[in-house]
Symmetry: C3
């Protein structure tokens, strides 16, 4: 996955840190069946996901306590996951419930495997990033998901880059006019735009003021009649990137990407798009899907290139300008959260205005 | 071979240790011709095997003293192995006997390469694991090999696992009913069996009492008329795994596996099966060969999976139960022998009884 | 390129050292166009080569100062190299000249990338191995290049070996009779030859006295009528290997190999052959080209084998004899130059005579 790069060799030299006490999407409801366990990762830990009694999902460290074989290569039998080597079975709490051949009790603490708290909601299975711990709060709910007049589309993609690089890319405006030229922006004249960045303890938001209606294909679909544009880009701890557009009165679109840092340089994105528009949903879907696929393919390729070069040089050596509006803020939030530090008093009122061309 | 895993990174975290002062099989008599050298490994050291005067085998460190090219890529000329780069030649003692172009003496100590004492017996070439040392004792001889009424079959296979994992797997009863279900065991009802484990300075033996005639295909071939079963599993230092079955009066089968730890996670097995049975040898061979091949393929795949996962986690974290009868004992023997320690006084009388289901 | 071997793990155990204050060939004039940048390496550093104003070449560290993407994957626009991610542009001095979207000044020191001084001469682009430094002296000029009566052929090849291993191989006589048997030497009787090795501060030369006309195919082409042979092998710091032959009065051939150590175990060779001979240049070319290709393929294969084995063993363990005339001297020159040490007084008069068979 990360091509043999050992994060230990470049720790402290890349924008990677692990926020453990938080909720992450580990898979979708549709991916998780009843008879086959699913193999996933969070923060370098292999995990096995399966359904227990009543279909309730369970998530365990994917390593049999006996001889360390991955449980995800076995089967789900009687709502328990079974190791393919000697047939040990575990329930959704991680307790060992069967050891073929052994007479007597099986559920000893040293035979249990670490268990991750989980929730299933809105079509996703979420896990708490700290095994055997008590979760604080509940998973994030994407806005407008079930509101009348709104439609929904979902997509899962992966990128070979750190959570930070992926989230920065998802919320970065300047590269869109260059890398995605013709698809998204950059086909016409430029305007001077004002950006207002505000950051609190758990999120950072950028509001763009004076932005013209987007040009190119996407723009023409969104608002054929023109109209005032409202645009917010947000990062919400630990790993949610959100883009919200309003164009005129009739168009509203929110793209929420739940990012899961599987490995330092491998991130999975579960994107959910909710919208309200003049056009029928099937038409919007038919137009947006190929555009979104193209944009993401270009981004994924660039993230892969960036990651390979960063690891080749043994770490990042970034220079930011004032128009890198969110990247440095995102890293600050992740880093401080990973260190268990809250916001400093002087952070509470962080607000910055920047003018740039787009 | 071991997919880039560096044992130094996880030393002390996996059940791997090198017993140097001992005999190992390095190849079979049939594998070693007269004109082509053979490339093999023991304990991570590349070795070259070739035949010297009178066909007597020689085993040297596979690295030319001059510019470090592998001798095994050259030829055997006049009972000497010749480096393919500059044509330096070595005899079976490791002495340099020819340097093309050089005037004067060639046999200087600094031009010699390390030589491993060797023996050829019973169809195998054995080497002493410590180069340029004096061997103690002679290589092990498989029982009943040339006894009247006994037949023999041989097989060489490799597995991506430590010597310990491979030997434990070869002698482990509980996994057979699960992993090899249908082929070997696990098709019928279970019985309670008593196992008696005894360990001395150089070996550990498990005797099974009350074992029913094996079910499934193998069992029907071994003893169509039923009969009392005797069953011993043995590990003999440094690397011999042996399974001995008697079924009724007429059936006796001994499977001896000489294991060669080429690398920490790559082990070669030379298995020799000797048997006496009611059926003609060709029939036994025809039935046993595909069954043995299937069983070994399943074991090799599982060992590979286990090894990959252990290295992914940076080491083993095993939990054993009382029915892991031999694995922990095998590791104890290897570890102590590698450290050059003999048995402690209180070890001499080690004996344990365990009851389990099979 | 070097198959995952980390030089840091075996530094000090292989004949590899980096002479930074020196000129190296980075590409040929023909390889470098106007619109596409070229990706190359020197001493493990990825470099981007492109043409600036007036076609003058520029060489920069191949890493955008912004988000560390390789510039060599972008385009050359208006004599500047453009990053493919956000469109930052750099001139041949390494200064940032454009940042799309940013209002105001772009050329800040922290936005510049390291620049390597360069020269274009004799069909090659040369760079000074120390970025942002002032070069001392000018690049080496191959002798006889434009002299009347002389012809020229060029070839670029790569080898998986250290600069030292490659240069030693290029200038080593003993292996030719063995590895290249039939192509170059070794087809007839042997003669005793005298070699005189002299070394000064920046080069080492070996003169061969008493050498017969080369046998085999090459010899017959060079001098059908026989004649006195003069033969010099030279290594010139930091990385030039040169073979000079005279056969009779009419034949003179000089093979100069400019070696570029891209990585510890990956060296690029730019060879230029200049000659004066009885035969028409097209005939010489037609005969020499396939022979040179065969010889180099054999050498490249052997260097690859040698490198793999050296890294497998964690370093070199060479033994040299008196007929390893140049190898140890080459390493001494490179090592001392890399350490910035000049020749000791007692080195100035180094001279040695050796007799050997060829």
């Amino acid at each position: 996955m990360n091509d043999g790069v050992d994060i230990d060799d470049i720790e402290g030299k890349v924008s990677y840190a692990e926020v453990r006490d938080a909720w992450y999407v580990i898979c979708t409801t549709d991916e998780l069946g009843r008879s086959k366990p699913l193999s996933r990762k969070l923060h370098r830990q292999p995990l096995v996901v399966f359904r227990g009694p009543g279909g309730k999902p369970g998530v365990l460290l994917d390593r049999c306590a006996h001889r360390n074989v991955p449980l995800s290569l076995g089967r789900v039998v009687d709502c328990q996951v079974e190791c393919p080597y000697h047939g040990w079975r575990y329930d959704t709490e991680g307790d060992c419930r069967k050891i073929p051949g052994l007479l007597g009790k099986t559920e000893l603490p040293r035979r249990a495997v670490p268990q991750y708290p989980c929730r299933e909601q809105d079509g996703y299975v979420w896990i708490w990033g700290n095994p055997d711990a008590e979760p604080i709060g509940e998973p994030y709910r994407p806005p407008k998901l079930d509101e009348p007049g709104y439609h929904t589309a979902r997509k899962m993609v992966t990128a070979k880059g750190t959570l930070h690089a992926v989230a920065e890319n998802a919320l970065d405006v300047p590269h869109t006019a260059f890398l995605h030229k013709g698809l998204f922006r950059g086909t016409g004249t430029t305007n001077e735009i004002k950006a207002v960045v505000t950051r609190d303890e758990t999120s950072v938001t950028c509001e763009y003021i004076g932005e013209p209606r987007p040009e190119g294909l996407v723009g023409r679909v969104l608002s054929p009649s023109g109209g005032v544009v409202t645009h917010f880009d947000r990062f919400i701890l630990p790993s949610i990137a959100q883009v919200e557009y309003g164009i005129g009165k009739e168009n509203h679109i929110i793209i929420t990407s739940f990012c899961t840092p599987e490995e330092p340089f491998f991130t999975r994105l579960y994107a959910v798009v909710t919208w309200r528009m003049r056009f029928p949903a099937p038409v919007v879907r038919a137009v947006l899907d190929p555009v979104a696929t193209s944009i993401f393919a270009q981004d994924a390729k660039m993230l892969d290139i960036q990651t390979k070069h960063v690891t080749r040089f043994g770490g990042e050596r970034y220079t930011s300008t004032e128009i890198d509006l969110l990247g440095p803020q995102i890293w600050r939030l992740i880093k401080r959260a990973a260190e268990g530090r809250g916001a400093k008093p002087d952070d509470e009122v962080y607000r910055r205005e920047v003018r740039f061309e787009a």
